[in-house]
Amino acid sequence: MRRSVDLTPGQRVALAAGTAMLLASTVLIVAAPQPVPALVQFFLKPFSSRLAFGSMLQGAVPLMIAGIGVLLAFKSSNFNLGGEGQIYAGALAACVTGLALQDATAPLVAVLASIAAGMLTGALLASISGLLKAMRGVSEMISSFLLSAAVVLLADALLTGPLQDPASNFQTTRMLSRALLLPRLLPPSRLDLAFPVALLLIGATRYLARTSRIGFELAICGTNEAFARYCGIPVEAYMVGTMAVSGALHGLAGALLVLGPYGRVMRGFSAGTGWSAISVALLAQGSEAGILPAALFFAWLKAGSDQVMIGSGIPSEFIAILQAAAMFLVTASSLPIMRRHRKIPASGVETPAAPQEPDSTGQASSEPGVTP
């Protein structure tokens, strides 16, 4: 007899995170030449030195900022799958602006202008998908993905062509001047001012979501669109607006990477950060405050997989597998359990439905399950 138990958000997170850790351990034991050192490298090395710890925290910064962006869109039931392109394009716009202004204006002006350029570019890209959804009913999920995939290739093309640093053999832009880069907080690591900025951003979003009218209306759009329309909430404006803000935050994440650890944009800049941000937002289970632990968790996994790549030669794509494992289970709403000791008549068995969550297939989920 197959039955299932409903999962609370906490249990869901534990299931997803636990599976990722278990899978990490299994793969390391099977694939690493020496399992024990590999396990130590993966789980503990990120905490072992100022450099490693600071780098891990720095790795969480783009995940926090872009994660908030994904979460905002999720809450209004818009799926922004274009994070990769928005981060890349935002970074490129920020870098170009910074390079153009660094000799002409004061550093602070150049920094603020390049951040603004990055955010604007991200916002523009994402709002196209919002507009297409509002005006023509095109799925924003597919349009944002397609647009982002094209943007990533076009940005690659710019970096191998007009924007390439003539002095470098690599496909990268010129380096921004030192004066434009954010101050470092924990040398020798690259942890910089962007970390407290990201924390502030999480706090501010949480505050706005709970107290402001916009936060309230946005949540209504997300939970019940028909009701939102009935209340006179401009649903279409919220579609475009949340996508734009989501894109702006992805652009900001890209801009801060340029102004912080990298100082330039190189080919393949986004490197999966957009997808990781989606995992972070999912793991946060709809809570702004949850973004912080979720981002730190994924930053830890990333730092650990970097360590085993250096230490044990495990390919760095390891992290993508762990992320996927967590993502698979993070929306699980009920867990099948085997019960042999209690016989229940087949006709009386109901498959417990997910109460609040929309069903996986978008259909009503409360129909009684027919057991074979």
Binding site: A150, V151, E317, P336, T361, A364
Partner: protein, 284 residues
């Protein structure tokens, strides 16, 4: 129209038919799951799984058919996992689909490094087969697949029940059928068909090339929309996208444009056709 542009058009048209085959397999496979009420966004990942595991099996055995079996088995397993997590554990299918795409792109690179010692192209020596014979075989397979999927979806009890599941799962339950069984079957079909598409893609260059699918799974998804969920119209949409692809391949050779821009073109064409093609039917 002068003579030269006529030959060019003919060349583009001739290249478009074989180029449409991988799309056809994935799109008509995806149609099964779409009609059962689930938009399967993992077609991209399933194609990638088919290309990698198919070529890996072909490399080990030296046989194209064994490779196909490997591709079908691997993608079938992936689709089964995705289906079980979605239907039994009641996870969100968009998210599990996304996870599958992510898992495949990570896992194939990971295993490529581990098994073949490279993240780059893996050449697969296979028994000789002329280009014409290969093209003829895949075109015949594609034609068979179009007929077969149209017949199954519209002419068999299974197909009618599968479509009924998509329209009204509660009615299916009332009739004593488990909608989840039809959905799982549809997911398996979409997974295996996509895998066959990805495997054909890799076979046509006799190598596993990383990221060889490069968005074709998403294009197949849009072909389902554009074909308004009717098998023959979906097939026609695939041919249209294949024409765009072979035209951009041709321009890449002649126009001297950056190949990266040309690679971006199919995504943009797909997006534009999605915008033009939607409107009549609103989703969500």
């Amino acid at each position: 129209m002068n003579d030269q542009s006529g030959t060019i058009l003919l060349a583009i048209l001739k290249a478009a038919f074989p180029a449409s085959v991988p799309l056809l397999f994935a799109a008509l496979g995806g149609l099964f799951s779409e009609l059962s009420g689930m938009l399967n966004i993992a077609l991209e990942g399933l194609m990638g799984a088919g290309a990698f595991f198919g070529m890996a099996a072909a490399l080990v055995t030296g046989s194209r058919l064994a490779g196909l079996a490997g591709a079908l088995a691997a993608a079938g397993l992936a689709a089964w996992i995705m289906g079980t997590v979605t239907l039994r554990v009641r996870a969100n299918i968009f998210i599990t689909g996304l996870a599958l795409n992510l898992a495949v792109s990570g896992l194939t690179t990971f295993l490529s490094q581990l098994w073949f010692g490279t993240k780059a192209v893996v050449n697969v020596p296979l028994p000789p087969l002329s280009k014409q014979a290969f093209t003829a075989v895949i075109l015949a397979a594609a034609a068979a697949w179009i007929c077969c999927s149209a017949l199954v979806l519209h002419g068999t009890t299974f197909g009618i029940r599968l479509r009924a599941t998509g329209m009204n799962p509660t009615a299916m339950t009332a009739l004593g059928h488990d909608p989840d069984r039809y959905r799982l079957a549809a997911l398996l079909i979409s997974g295996m068909a996509s895998a066959a598409g990805g495997y054909i893609l890799a076979l046509s260059v006799s190598a596993y090339v990383p990221n060889i699918v490069s968005g074709r799974g998403w294009i197949a998804l849009v072909a389902i929309y554009l074909g308004k969920r009717r098998p023959l119209a979906v097939a026609a949409s695939c041919l249209l996208f294949a024409l765009a692809e072979s035209a951009s391949n041709y321009l890449q050779g002649v126009g001297g444009m950056s190949p990266l821009i040309m690679l971006a073109l199919p995504y943009l064409v797909t997006l534009i056709s999605l915008v033009v093609g939607t409107g009549a039917r609103q989703r969500h």
